[in-house]
């Protein structure tokens, strides 16, 4: 805490240059986990070209919290020191704010497990970007946070946009389509296979899709848009299930058939997965989450089938602002 003065800078705009002696204070930022995706594939952009993209399923119960203590000298010291992407994000955010000469100490505390598709590293990066911005007395637009996150770690998810429903080009950090603000109300019962090992996201080869799949993604995107506009979770279930099935040809989840049959037995209307992780979620009507007996029964059925890390959460109960 070397340059924490009493006059913070107010409302600084993204990209605006700040004098190098401007006041910085301790800044804190938060970011949520996600529970894999509702859709992942390639999609036509307004430029007529294909872009890799996804609809992230936000999971607000797990969070990363970053704290940034500014120093007048350049360089970022991060704890834990494995957070190299977060360090890079802090550096890029200072540059973006016109504070390249500055540095600081960064700590990250996170409840998000690593390597199963919860987006732990993106949450670290986004919490860091927000912490550095807060340190400069500003809040960045979600679009700026998303671009900085992609610059810091190569690819990202849509967590910069909180619980907003959108199709995000995760390799470029831009939104391909805003579907509307909130996801439809929805309960997820999440779990993963007991034998699943963590997946090293960055070493995972990029999926190649054939023409049938690319055209199917076009229609799935259209139905996701309808599902959000009409707040119809069942249509979103159709999209997620088909996306999970297409992904079986890429990263095969060994118990997928078991999941399909449990889904039918329990009256779930869809299955969603982490497309580069091990998470699976049953999609149910939002009221299910308030029915403890029902949740417990589904949990027992999943546990009997050998699944672990069973947890339920809801989506669309109120769009959390990023």
């Amino acid at each position: 805490m070397t340059s924490n003065r009493s006059h913070p800078t107010y409302g600084q705009q993204a990209g605006a240059s700040a004098p190098s002696n401007s006041a910085l204070q301790v800044g804190t930022g938060r970011a949520s986990a996600h529970h894999g995706e509702l859709l992942q594939g390639v999609f036509e952009g307004e430029d007529g070209r294909l872009h890799r993209g996804l609809i992230t399923l936000p999971y607000a119960a797990l969070q990363a919290v970053a704290t940034f203590w500014p120093r007048a000298q350049p360089g970022i010291r991060a704890r834990p020191d494995s957070c190299t992407k977060a360090s890079r994000a802090a550096q890029l955010t200072l540059q973006h704010l016109g504070l390249s000469g500055r540095g600081g100490d960064l700590t990250i505390e996170s409840t998000i497990p690593v390597g199963h598709g919860y987006g732990s590293s993106t949450a670290d990066v986004i919490a860091t970007i927000r912490a550095v911005a807060a340190s400069a007395g500003t809040t960045l637009q979600a679009s700026s946070v998303a671009r900085l996150a992609v610059a810091a770690e190569g690819a990202s998810d849509a967590i910069a946009y909180g619980e907003w429903a959108l199709l995000f080009a995760h390799c470029e950090g831009v939104v391909l389509e805003h579907f509307g603000k909130e996801f439809p109300p929805l309960a997820i019962i999440g779990f993963r296979g007991a034998r699943d090992r963590p997946v090293e996201t960055l070493s995972f080869p990029r999926a190649r899709y054939d023409a049938d799949e690319i055209e199917a993604f076009r229609v799935m995107r259209g139905l996701a848009c309808r599902a959000v506009r009409q707040q119809d979770p069942r249509l979103l279930g159709r999209v997620a299930t088909l996306s999970a099935c297409i992904n079986q040809r890429r990263l095969c989840k060994p118990e997928f058939e078991t999941v399909l049959s449990i889904s039918r037995e329990q009256g779930a209307f869809g299955i969603q997965v982490a497309h580069s992780g091990t998470l699976i979620g049953l999609m149910l009507d939002a009221e299910v989450a308030t029915n403890a007996d029902r949740v417990a029964a589904i949990g027992r059925s999943l546990a009997r089938a050998g699944f672990g890390d069973i947890a339920s959460f809801t989506l669309g109960s109120g769009a959390r602002q990023p």
Binding site: D47, R218, G222
Partner: protein, 353 residues
């Protein structure tokens, strides 16, 4: 094309018309622009079609018009091969004014002489290496193109339970149906054909209703996807086209009349199903015929009243141009249906390119 206004892209977008509480029509100005633009775009991207290249296709109708518009705008040479019984002077002039060469093959039997047209097409391909042939009958791209329609439909209406459409190449019905059925596995597909078209097992012959049906069997017709088949005669189709204009202000060609007739009946049978009917083109081309009383009054059986429903048939046989028949296809292959009827001796010839 970039994100700027693209007239061709807009021209392939249908208007949606609600014909009944559970029945929506997708009314296309020129539906064939959808596969034509998809195929030309992909041929350009893959290098099959180079700058100033030559396109050849066999067509008797709107696919030719669509590809002629694209070829003119993008500076390609185009040869269209058609049959003398199928092409009228007005369409020929319109194609030629777009710069297309139109070759009309003799067609004494009045069945479209598709084998003769293909023979000519292969001769052109042989003599002109590097010529691009879109192959609307057999290229899977024809079906893939209709993901765009499926996208527009789900954005506008969400869940769809049944699609009714004419079959000529099979592209629109089997393409749209494939993408919608991936999301809604219970989706019913209802094919609309006409008497003396071989697509669903009738013997080939002279057809009065043009723009659907075929005298050869395209690979884009996926019989195993189809739940039921209707053969609509020319007269009920014409009468329904008039009805669409009078009751809804919808001015479409006669194949759209056939599709609307079947769609209306299917929607009445299953009022709980959200049904989509595909209407492929507008009525302007038919102003001298289907929308001309003098021409109509020369037809035997005209005027006719609209039939309230089809006649269910157990055997696949041609009927009069006043008739409308229906057969429960039940997602079988053509071979399986013909075998079930004890007709495995007369399987139509498979069209191989």
């Amino acid at each position: 094309m970039t994100g700027t206004a693209d007239y061709f892209r807009d021209l392939e977008v249908p208007r949606f018309a609600r014909l009944a509480p559970n029945l929506t029509a997708a009314c296309f100005p020129l539906m064939k622009l959808m596969p034509a633009r998809f195929m030309v775009d992909r041929a350009e991207a893959s290098g099959l079609l180079g700058r100033g290249g030559h396109i050849v296709e066999t067509t008797s109708g709107t696919f030719g018009l669509a590809i002629a518009m694209l070829a003119a705008a993008r500076r390609y040479e185009l040869t269209l091969i058609t049959a003398s019984s199928l092409i009228d002077l007005k369409l020929t002039r319109r194609l030629e004014s777009l710069g297309a060469r139109v070759a009309a093959i003799d067609d004494p039997k009045g069945d479209g002489n598709q084998p003769g047209r293909l023979e000519r097409l292969h001769a052109i391909l042989k003599g002109n290496p590097g010529t691009y042939w879109p192959r609307q009958y057999d290229s899977p791209e024809n079906r893939l193109a209709y993901a765009r329609l499926a996208d527009m439909v789900v954005r506008a209406f969400g869940q769809i339970d049944c699609v009714v459409g004419c079959v000529g190449t099979g592209g629109s019905l089997c393409g749209t149906g494939k993408f919608l059925r991936q999301l809604f596995p219970h989706l019913r597909l209802v094919a609309v054909d006409t008497h003396r078209s071989i697509l669903f097992g009738q013997p080939v012959g002279r057809r009065t209703l043009r723009g659907l049906g075929n005298s050869v069997l395209p690979q884009n017709v996926r019989h195993e996807m189809i739940d039921e088949v209707h053969w609509v005669g020319a007269l009920p189709a014409f009468a329904m086209a008039h009805c669409l204009l009078r009751e809804h202000g919808i001015f479409m060609g006669p194949t759209s009349g056939a599709a609307a007739l079947v769609g209306g009946w299917v929607a009445r049978q299953r009022p709980q199903m959200a049904t989509l009917v595909i209407m492929p083109d507008e009525g302007h081309r038919h102003s001298d015929t289907v929308y001309n009383d003098d021409w109509l009054n020369r037809l035997e059986g005209w005027p006719t009243s609209l039939p309230s429903g089809p006649t269910d048939v157990e055997r696949i046989l041609p009927a009069a141009e006043t008739d409308w028949t229906r057969f429960a296809w039940r997602r079988r292959t053509l071979k399986a249906v013909l075998a079930d009827l004890g007709r495995d001796d007369c399987e139509p010839p498979d069209l191989k390119s």
